[in-house]
Amino acid sequence: MSITHELKRMLTSFWRPTPAVIALGVLSVYYFGITGTYWAVTGEFTRWGGHILEASGVDISDWGYFNIMGMQGTSLTRVDGVMIIGMFGGIIAATLWGNKLKFRLPASRIRIYQALIGGIIAGFGARLGMGCNLASLFTGIPQFSAHAWFFTIAMIVGVYFGVKFTQLKLFRSKVQMQAISCDTPQIVQKDRAKGFFTFGTIVFSLIMLWALYLIFVVGSTKLGVAMLFGSAFGLIIAKAQICFTSAFRDLFITGRSQMSRAIVIAMAVSTIGIFSYILIGVPPKIMWAGPNTIIGGALFGFGIVVAGGCECGWMYRAVEGQTHFWIVGIGNVIGATLLAFVWDDIAPLVATSWPKINLLESFGAYGGLLFNYLLLFLLFLLILKIEKNYSKKLNGANYAK
């Protein structure tokens, strides 16, 4: 097999999810170390909501939440903005290389409601808790911010209730299995793979050139590097079909723990990496550990299960042509904007009057490190326990037959 053939095979096929999630953990550490900023997407989505309000004539200069987020500049001049452009570049390339582009309309009206309402709840909850899965699993926890632990545990509880809710008859799929014979026509799919592959290569090259232009011509090293990292993040989540929503959801639905285990391992890897950067003086991002993280986490967990995807998962699915996830994305921006609207009334009560807890300060540097690993180990045990309970129930059901 020639080298080009093998390269093409690698870019065409799916990537294995567990190494992909660990790679994301490692990359997010370097992203933090090199740029001093964090891999997160919902913050920028909130700013998009702010820009839409500004464009429609609303004065948001006295909205506290937008002041926290920083509305200066545009998506082209903000680090988070260009990182997301890079992500979309990587996602588009991955989708085209893998021949996964297809326009799909939602299966039924109930799915449209699920996407919109779930998206709004998740968007609201994520911003109330100061971040989505990325901000908690790849930023907050490895950066020793206690708020991310509250958020994550509450999210798992929210996911559990989301699973119970979406298993109601109303939401079940109406598709029926059919018996088929040799006469039943094969479902033939048009072969457009070749053209798409070339187009994917062009998109990826353009993003690379754009990033290099920012670094070497414009001199905005930080923006260019953010775009490069974004393209790697996007490429990996789309090629390996990384879905953080599925991690805990499917643990409850079908007892599958592959993704949740991978996430804990990725967090364990990134914890030590972030720790080394903090020791040499890079400041971590510590957020208020108030009731906002618990309420936000629970709402977020419930919302992502109803919607079928979180803030990072809808991005590559939207690009693949799944209109369901265009609606989820719109819902997320609406939810985040709603939170910004009520923030000034609720913030002192649920967030800003609460302490920002840095585990490295509470327990000392090495005490905090040890404590974080202890919590990660307990989370891993919890995952194994939930999986075990599912298997027990499954075996019991088989035995009863």
Binding site: N99, R111, V175, E320
Partner: protein
């Protein structure tokens, strides 16, 4: 290529349904199959690649073949 694909006796066309519904339906459908039946599941949720194969095996069924060359991934499974 065509030779690797087993001839299915049943089909579950889950196109347009998002995950996790394709995986849930697959498990439910497999319960109704006989020992010689082969089920073809078609899903255009590419993320099903990370759930259908694992869930099928976990529930004690056999995955025969995956065709992921198109936007709609096809899985061939039996009891």
């Amino acid at each position: 290529m065509q030779n690797n694909i087993p001839t299915p006796t049943h089909r579950l066309d889950m196109q347009t349904e998002p995950c996790p519904y394709p995986a849930i339906k697959t498990i439910e459908a497999l319960r109704e199959l006989g020992d010689d039946d082969i089920l073809e599941v078609i899903s255009d949720c590419p993320q099903s690649i990370n759930n259908i194969p694992l869930d099928v095996e976990k529930h004690g069924y056999k995955l025969l073949h995956i065709d992921s060359s198109s936007p709609s991934v096809r899985y061939f499974v039996k009891r």
